[in-house]
């Protein structure tokens, strides 16, 4: 009898055994179990707004019969439910036609000792979980710091603590359990009144409590951002130089990561599909994907198939060096998998040598973009069009806040015309310095 109190490893083992018993000889299976918890508080106007406390877990099973494959997941851990899950998944796999991507990492391909190798990554804060008072004090500190800036109030203020354990077990012997924690303070601020309100937000995600900056710093930062936007207006349309602040430049790297996915490349749905070894970014630009950064938000010794990850320069001196390859996409392309079955890990654009101020000083007319709205970018064609706000640059100086404009171009040209500043900060799993791009189209009035 599997009880609600059984450990993840026990449940994974039980489910794997049930599946292999149900399936024909030679079948393979993979079980993934996620256990997570969350404590979170919200405050506003000096009063508590919300308190959430949760513990949830779910288990998923994938069965492989030759090249036939099916998956199922459940949040019911009773013995009867696990048996039924195994039975139905096997039936589904039998009914599903063979598929060339159905594969499970074999011994020799997957990483052994994942738990040992994950230790130096230090993804889990072993200290006591924060209690409600600690989270509330953090949230009040955020709000008070924001309100200290004249004319600024908060729209929402939240602090949360998350913890999770992921366990993976396969019929081929892959066996991994990784634990992680995160502390997340965030707030949204409003400056001004009525129709001239401007907004901003700030947040941090830290694996360890001791890495959190002072709440006052985050609160003040969010307040100053909202306040600096007061008096924003659109600008007339035209071709301009755009600077993407390091708060928005990681978005461009995210699109790059989507475009070098091995699967998209093999299927021909990426605008970079024929660009391996070619100049895709401006000369001098290096993009590093590093899964080994201690406490990194994307750090992992292996991908979810167990294929080991290692540090890769995806782009060197502007030239494309690697696709992001899973076991399946590597096979399609006739290459070796590189542990990127789940995408990039910690993707960083290395800083340039020019300061951000010097980049701005060199712009006759342009816009420093600090926020983007909307999601329109087409990875098949590279076409890019987004709503934007920020600051007008005239004759090398920031002259006024700008909003209600769009910026458009093609990612292929944008990457090739990019100059990074030297202000890289490694705080999120995708990080880039402020970058300057020549010749984009601004639409405004």
């Amino acid at each position: 009898m599997t009880k609600q109190t059984s450990t993840s490893k026990d449940i994974c083992k039980t489910l794997l055994d049930y599946a292999l018993n149900e399936a024909p000889t030679g079948a393979k299976a993979r079980v993934v179990m996620g256990e997570s918890g969350k404590k979170s508080v919200g405050v506003l106007n000096g009063k508590p707004q919300s308190y959430d406390n949760a513990q949830t877990r779910s288990v998923s099973l994938t069965v492989y019969i030759g090249q036939q494959k099916a998956s199922a997941s459940s949040e019911d851990f009773s013995d009867a439910a696990l048996k039924k899950l195994a039975h139905e998944t096997v039936l589904m796999a039998k009914a599903t036609p063979a598929n060339k991507d159905a594969m499970l990492a074999a011994k020799g391909q997957f990483l052994e000792n994942v738990e040992e190798l994950a230790k130096p990554l230090d993804l889990h804060d072993d200290g006591p979980h924060p209690d409600v008072t600690e989270l509330q004090d953090m949230a009040f500190a955020l709000e008070n710091a924001a309100k200290a800036t004249k004319g600024v109030r908060c729209k929402s203020v939240n602090t949360s603590f998350n913890y999770s354990t992921t366990t993976v077990l396969t019929s081929e012997g892959f066996n991994a359990q990784v634990k992680s924690t995160s502390f997340v303070p965030m707030l949204q601020t409003i400056a001004g009144e009525g129709g001239t309100q401007t907004t901003a937000y700030s947040y941090r995600v830290c694996r360890h409590r001791e890495d959190l900056p002072a709440m006052e710093t985050i609160g003040k930062e969010a307040a100053e951002k909202a306040s600096a936007k007061q008096g924003a207006k659109p600008v007339p349309s035209g071709k301009m130089t755009i600077l993407f602040d390091r708060e928005v430049s990681p978005d461009l790297l995210g699109m790059f990561a989507g475009a070098i996915s091995g699967m998209a490349v093999d299927k021909g749905t990426s605008f970079l599909k024929d660009s391996m070894g070619e100049q895709v970014f401006a000369k001098g630009i290096t993009l590093t994907d590093d899964p080994t950064i201690p406490r990194g938000l994307g750090s992992d010794p292996c991908d979810s198939q167990g294929i080991p990850t290692e540090k890769l320069d995806l782009v060197k001196d502007g030239k494309l060096q690697h696709w992001l390859l899973s076991l399946a996409s590597a096979k399609r392309l006739g290459l070796e998998p590189n542990g990127r079955g789940d995408g990039v890990t910690n993707l960083v654009m290395q800083p340039g040598t020019t300061s951000r101020d010097d980049l701005i000083a060199g712009v006759e007319k342009g816009i420093l973009v600090t926020g983007m709205i909307g999601h329109s970018s087409n990875l098949t064609t590279g076409d890019f069009s987004r709503g934007a706000e920020g600051f007008l640059i005239e004759n090398g100086k920031i002259t006024q806040p700008v909003h209600e404009i769009t910026i458009a171009g093609n990612l292929k040209d944008m990457f090739l015309n990019m100059t990074p500043a030297d202000d890289l900060k490694l705080d999120l799993s995708i990080a880039a310095p402020t970058v300057r791009i020549e010749g984009m189209t601004v639409a405004g009035k």
Partner: protein, 470 residues
């Protein structure tokens, strides 16, 4: 124990009332929300069945509301012991001395069948065969087709809501979804087009009507293959019937959600004022038969209704959940929705649309010198406090001298919530809802919604984000 959720817990809803009572003693509101979701999908990609899956998610969330403070404990341990433990934790977390708000009132008119689409009538082999048939149809239609992706999915959500005052509500909510995506390549350029179909119903609509969805995806990608760069700058925009309705969802809807009004929306304090041109009436309606955004009751147990937001251009209503209704001293409108038991209710839209005007849509185009005519979209976003919205047109055309001319590449359109709708000068009589509706994201929660509108012309206030600048 007739309800499947009562069976899971092993207790009648009646037996849960005292536990909820303990959790909400001295509170102003609160409830137990129990949920079970069964979902299944078939994904075809690159000519093969890439994935077949089945998921079962279940759990409860117990909420205690004191004034504006909400304490929430959730878990997927569906046992009496776990619910009792949550009740204990809640009463300690949020001390209070309030009076419990009145239970939901109103009548429920069922707007979808009380069945699970996951029935044996459309078993896995049938759904796999359909996906393959759609793939073959699209590839056979045009030799420029390089990739086809088909997603056929369905889910059924059972909810049980138990209040401390003895009010018990249940709902069974079916949903089906078909997504078809087509990539074409003619040797010089490559584009992708998409079309969806979704309803609160069984699979029958998908099995009977997939060809129209495939044809829409094919048409969209064919148009994109011929598209020229889109103009950049402020210019008149004609919004096509149906698909462009997302503009009201973003420009007006989110800013009129009660929580947003309370914490700072561009529309705060504008009740009774003219916020759109005369003739513009916009509603948020939870009661449209089978529509993706429809609900019999919201996730607090309030029966849904048709809520008028803008009447003849004047702001006349907000959307409210129970908490925001109480704080605004208004009536809950049945807009309290949650993504799952893992989430507290939020004020969310349902089916948001603009009512018909009187004009023939062809006349609107005939009378326009130069504009962008936006027919289909891929999404939108809004900053409610700053009052700025965007929406992304994926199928759009240039209109010149009263005629629809070349299709233009997809572009983002941006505008200001407070003045965009003041610039509407022509309203067609061809209102329809979107074919599929979409999924709306807010504060990390997603919710199925639908939008709609007649053909409308806006003379200004919208900036078109193309690359062609003259």
């Amino acid at each position: 124990m007739s309800n499947p959720l009562e069976q899971k817990i092993g207790l009648d809803a009646q037996a849960l009332i005292p536990i909820v009572g303990k959790a909400t003693k001295g509170a102003d509101d609160g409830e137990l929300f129990v949920e079970n979701v069964l979902s299944e999908s078939v994904i075809l990609d690159d000519g093969e069945i890439k994935s077949t899956s089945f998921n079962n998610s279940m759990g409860f969330g117990l909420r205690r509301v004191v004034d504006e403070f909400q304490a929430y404990v959730y878990s997927n341990d569906l046992t009496k012991g776990a619910i009792e433990k949550a009740a204990k934790e809640l009463s300690a977390a949020a001390p209070g001395n309030g009076t419990l708000a009145m239970p939901p009132v109103g009548t429920i008119t069922p707007v979808y069948p009380e069945v699970s689409p996951l029935s044996a009538d459309y078993d896995l082999p049938k759904r796999i065969k359909l996906a393959q048939e759609i793939d073959a149809y699209i590839r056979g239609y045009d030799n420029r087709v390089r990739q086809v992706q088909v997603v056929i999915s369905a889910n059924v959500q059972d909810v049980l809501i138990v209040r401390p005052d003895g009010h018990v509500a249940t709902d069974r909510r079916p949903m089906v979804l078909l997504v078809v995506s087509v990539t074409m390549d003619d040797g010089t350029r490559r584009e992708t087009g998409r079309a969806n179909y979704s309803r609160r119903d069984g699979y029958k609509g998908i099995f009977d009507g997939w060809k129209a969805v495939a044809d829409r995806a094919l048409k969209q990608v064919d148009v994109l293959m011929q598209s020229v760069p889109c103009p950049a700058g402020e210019m008149p925009v004609i919004l096509g019937a149906g698909g462009s309705g997302v503009i009201f969802h973003e420009a007006i809807g989110h800013g009129l959600e009660g929580d947003s009004i309370r914490t700072g929306s561009a529309f705060s304090g504008m009740m009774g004022k003219q916020v759109a041109a005369k003739g513009v009436t916009i509603v948020d309606d939870g009661t449209i038969e089978g529509s993706r955004g429809s609900l019999n009751i919201d996730d607090e147990g309030t029966p849904t209704e048709n809520t008028t937001l803008i009447e003849d251009g004047k702001l006349v209503g907000y959307m409210n959940d129970r908490l925001n209704a109480r704080l605004h001293n208004m009536k809950p409108t049945g807009n309290g929705r949650r993504q799952s038991y893992r989430h507290r209710p939020l004020v969310r839209m349902r089916n948001t649309y603009m009512l018909n005007g009187t004009e023939n849509p062809a006349d609107i185009i005939k009378d326009t010198k130069r504009a962008i005519y936006a027919v289909d979209y891929s999404g939108g976003q809004v900053d409610t406090a700053a009052g700025k919205f965007v929406f992304q047109a994926t199928e759009a055309y240039l209109v010149e001298d009263g005629e629809i001319k070349a299709p233009v590449k997809g572009a983002t359109l941006i505008g200001s919530c407070l003045d965009a709708l003041m610039n509407i000068d022509r309203i067609g009589n061809d209102m329809r809802l979107e074919y599929a509706g979409g999924t709306c994201g807010k504060n990390g929660q997603s919710a199925p919604v639908n939008d709609g509108m007649p053909t409308v012309r806006m003379t200004g206030g919208i900036i078109v984000g193309g690359t062609a600048h003259d």
